[in-house]
């Protein structure tokens, strides 16, 4: 079972946000972010869940070693007893997922509904999402039902990030590159001068 994210299908209804906020471990506080991309341009919205990176940047930068991964690769919220509230993870995450919660002095984030997924259920957001923007299921089923293919490799400049959550993209997309520098033929002149 894997998690698939397809922002192109998002209709902005916030069912995922509301349903996430129902979880008893963080009741009233959603761990999903959902934003308009550019409200003045289009009704396009995009949900963001934790991508559950193979080698999570948030954990790499945590000075208190508070961010742990389960054996099956789920990246958890910072451990309350270890988290020092420094927000390194909030700043470092390339997907903008973790949030520092002042009332708890703790970083909290999407844990893929570990209480549900560890029992074989779907995460709450993917259960309720009415438009298929958030989906949880066997990869072979998703491949059969959708024309898009999931991508798990992202390049942020020099950093390559591999994730457990798949981002749906047009078939043939192997990696998503989000840094303009990667598309430039040669190193720009000012950079050479500085170097």
């Amino acid at each position: 079972m894997e998690f698939f994210l397809d922002p192109s299908r998002c209709i902005g209804c916030q069912a995922c946000v509301r349903a996430c906020a129902e979880c008893d471990t963080h009741a009233g506080r959603p761990m999903i972010h959902l934003e308009y991309v550019d409200r003045a341009l289009s009704p396009q919205t995009a949900p963001v869940v934790c991508m559950h990176c193979e080698d999570p940047t948030c954990a790499q930068v945590c000075p208190a070693d508070a961010i742990k991964q389960t054996e099956d690769g789920v990246v958890m919220s910072a451990l309350a007893e270890r988290c020092i509230g420094c927000s390194n993870c909030v700043l470092a995450c390339p997907f903008g997922v973790p949030r520092y919660v002042p009332e708890r002095d703790q970083m909290m984030k999407c844990d893929l509904c570990y209480d549900r997924t560890s029992l074989g259920k779907m995460p709450m957001c993917a259960t309720v999402c009415p438009s298929g923007a958030l989906t949880y299921g066997p990869p072979e089923v998703i491949e059969r039902l959708r024309r898009e293919r999931s991508v798990r490799s992202f390049r942020f400049g020099a950093q390559e990030v591999r994730t457990h959550v798949g981002l749906m993209a047009p078939a043939g997309t192997a990696e998503i590159d989000v840094d303009v520098a990667s598309f430039i033929a040669a190193e720009p002149e000012p950079m050479r001068k500085i170097a």
């Binding site: 209804c13 069912a15 509301r18 003045a40 309720v128 009415p130 438009s131 298929g132």
Partner: protein
């Protein structure tokens, strides 16, 4: 005397709307669920299956119900947050009686006694029809049936109608004219089987979010999606073809598409010949709607009109679905008929993946219009002016045919008659016309002229504030019953909790009123299932036949589609299979539709179109959803959508306050600049009350057949404020 008994501020302080953010006792003290109740959402016509978590007699949350086939656990934000209407501080817990300075608690005996005394007094002095009854399309089938029977048997008034009159009645009337019966022709499971899906005036993503998945499952297998709407709604964003029609021009657009199909020979002559009547006249009538002429009328590029015809013609199967955008017009019926002409001319109906339907907006938009709470209709979808139908129902109810009232006034007309002083008394159940009717100042003047107004509701709506007596009724989760969804599937609602305090289940209030009016013998019910049994028997043999249904059968099958005339009948998910329609000769009818402009078109003084609609987190007049904190936060106040080109021409910046003026009045709202709307059109969502209500400035003109108001287009002037 139905002016407000005290200031609006005082009423709001006591009765809300107050936003509720947590279940009773707060999230921190939320107990574990003792049981999960399988029931349905209390909002739109999709009626998603949902499980309510119950502990210690309180609804404390929800759990997805993945086995229910329509939504398979999926929900929108409204469904997820709906449980927060329970244990709500605004909840009416006992009857209220109006005083000089507000409302005071009344006993049930006093409240019911007063309602009955005023019904008798008004009817004796002014005639039976001087007392009107208004219901809602969120009521269960049981309650809708009972309200109709109460009006006709115990009050014997002709004037009973419902808020479906503000919803999809144009589709209902057109479906009856074209097909001989009023129901969406296909189950939604046909949508993913279609190779072309045409969505007309239906903001699927926000108003019926679950159906988005159906449309996109079709797209995943290569279907083309065509969207007709003046706004680029979330579903339109990914359409293969978007036709941004000028408000009020839909029938011209569909004449143009049909004309192009005729020109390219892409019509189904065999189907037309074998199963329909009247095509030749339609073919002649649409001939003048060339792509260029249609472009001039509709503002849709000729090439897009031709492309729509091409996509429709190329697809072996197709579904056409529409909603309020097509129906809320003074020619709503004609608009709907123009789309049905397209479906019939190409024979795309009555087959897997081929069909047509309106998507009803209200929870029981379908069932609420079937069993007699409409001014022109009796149980079983029978026509109140049809002598045979009248005789059948009179016999069933044990009255003479002459005792049965004739057709009465529709919802908007009832308010006009109140304002004229012809109707003196009103009993309402779950309807909030102060927010939902057009031209709110006129609605208010009418309410203020009432001699007596009794309202049954669970929250004190903006309309119930005007009441002399308020009877504390029940929320959906406090009663048993059935709902008929937008696809014609009858589903079962389960009681999760009892009404709180001294509030009562709605139908028991109606039964008590009937008894006090002297009709106890005709209203003997001990449970909601008694009512359903009677409703099914009453519908038996009628056009809308529930004769073979039972609670047990509905529960076992997770819903049963009507017609279902006999216990052994499996129900009918898809209508018109084999080209058999419900008219006596088995044929469908074409109708000639010639485009005519809206009742109030743009001119020099009011040069822009105003159109209205919903947002995803709110439902109808907001009497429930404006009290649910997270849903209110998602859309706290209305705004006016303006295209940046128009905003620049008018000197309006993003977020700036804007003055909207129509011939009814003015409204001040912040500007939301977006390229997702025609530059000649502005849009305001309608869920708010008082100074925020767009229905203060909408137009009250009605469709001559369906009596639906023209919410979707009037002329407006927009200025920076």
């Amino acid at each position: 005397m139905a002016t407000l008994p005290t200031s609006e501020d005082e009423l709001i302080a006591r009765f809300g709307p107050h936003p509720m953010y947590e279940p009773a006792g707060g999230f921190a003290r939320r107990p574990a669920a003792e049981r999960l109740v399988k029931t349905h959402c209390c909002f739109c016509g999709v009626q998603c299956g949902i499980q309510l978590k119950v502990a210690d007699g309180h609804v404390i949350g929800f759990e997805p119900w993945e086995e229910f086939p329509v939504n398979r656990g999926k929900l929108c934000s409204k469904g997820v947050a709906r449980y927060l209407q329970n244990d709500h501080p605004d909840r009416l817990l006992h009857p209220l009686r109006r005083t000089e300075s507000g409302f005071r608690r009344a006993s049930w005996d006093e409240a019911l006694g007063l309602v009955v005394e005023r019904i008798r007094s008004i009817q004796q002095r002014h005639g039976r029809d001087a007392f009107a009854v208004l219901g809602g399309a969120s009521l269960t089938n049981e309650k809708a049936y009972l309200l109709g029977k109460l009006a006709r048997i115990a009050l014997r008034t002709a004037n009973i109608d419902y808020n479906g009159r503000l919803c999809m009645v144009s589709a209902a009337a057109a479906n009856k004219m074209a097909f001989g019966v009023d129901r969406a022709a296909n189950p939604w499971s046909d949508i993913p089987l279609a190779k072309c899906v045409m969505l007309v005036g239906t903001n699927v993503g926000e108003c019926f979010p679950i159906l988005t998945d159906y449309v996109w499952r079709a797209r995943d297998t290569g279907a083309k999606v065509v969207v007709v709407d003046p706004r680029l709604t979330p579903i339109a964003r990914t359409a293969d073809l978007f036709l941004p029609v000028k408000p009020g021009r839909d029938s011209a657009l569909f004449a143009g598409i049909l004309a192009d199909l005729v020109r390219r020979g892409a019509i189904d002559r065999e189907f037309i010949h074998a199963h329909t009547v009247g095509f030749e006249a339609v073919r002649e009538a649409v001939a003048k709607y060339t792509p260029l002429h249609t472009e001039a009328l509709t503002g849709v590029p000729a090439a897009s009109i031709v492309r729509a015809a091409e996509l429709w013609a190329e697809a072996p199967t197709s579904m056409l679905l529409h909603a309020r955008g097509l129906e809320h017009h003074t020619k709503g019926v004609e608009n709907v008929l123009s789309t049905i002409n397209l479906v019939l001319a190409t024979g795309r109906i009555g087959k897997p993946g081929c069909g047509y339907g309106t998507i009803t907006g209200q929870g029981n938009g379908q069932g609420g219009r079937e069993h007699g709470q409409r001014c022109n209709q009796l149980p079983g979808g029978r026509d109140i002016e049809n002598p045979a139908h009248r005789a059948e129902v009179a016999r069933f109810w044990g009255v003479t045919e002459t005792e049965l009232p004739r057709a009465g006034l529709s919802a908007v007309e009832i308010f006009d008659a109140i304002e004229r002083g012809e109707i003196k008394g009103l009993l309402s159940l779950s309807i909030n016309p102060m927010v939902s009717l057009p031209d709110a100042a006129k609605t208010r003047r009418a309410l203020e002229r009432l001699e007596f107004f009794g309202a049954i509701d669970f929250f004190l709506s903006e309309t119930a504030r005007h009441a002399d007596v308020v009877l504390a009724g029940s929320l959906q989760e406090e009663d048993e019953g059935t709902i008929t969804t937008g696809e014609g599937r009858v589903v079962r609602l389960r009681r999760s909790v009892e009404p709180p305090g001294d509030a009562r289940v709605d139908w028991r209030i109606l039964v008590e009123l009937a008894a006090r009016l002297g009709f106890a013998d005709k209203f003997r019910y001990t449970c909601a299932e008694d009512l359903f049994r009677e409703l099914c028997a009453a519908s038996s043999g009628g056009p809308i036949d529930y004769g073979g249904m039972s609670y047990e059968k509905i529960e076992k099958n997770l819903g049963v589609f009507w017609p279902c005339p006999k216990p052994e009948h499996p129900g009918t998910p898809r209508l018109f299979e084999g080209g058999r329609f419900a008219h006596a000769d088995g044929r469908a009818r074409f109708h000639v539709v010639d485009y005519r402009p809206p009742a109030e078109d743009v001119d020099r003084d009011y040069p822009l179109f105003l159109t209205t609609g919903r947002v995803v987190s709110q439902y109808l007049s907001g009497n429930q959803t404006r009290r649910i904190g997270p849903l209110l936060d998602q859309a706290p106040e209305p705004y006016v959508e303006i295209h940046p080109q128009l905003a620049e021409a008018l000197g309006i910046a993003a977020g700036q306050m804007v003055r909207l003026a129509t011939r009814r009045g003015e409204l001040r709202l912040p500007a939301l600049l977006t390229r997702a709307i025609r530059p000649d059109t502005v849009f305001v969502p309608y869920h708010w009350a008082g100074r925020l209500s767009v229905n203060r400035i909408t137009h009250r003109a009605l469709d001559p057949i369906s009596k639906i108001p023209e919410f979707k287009v009037c002329a407006v002037r927009v200025e920076a404020s």
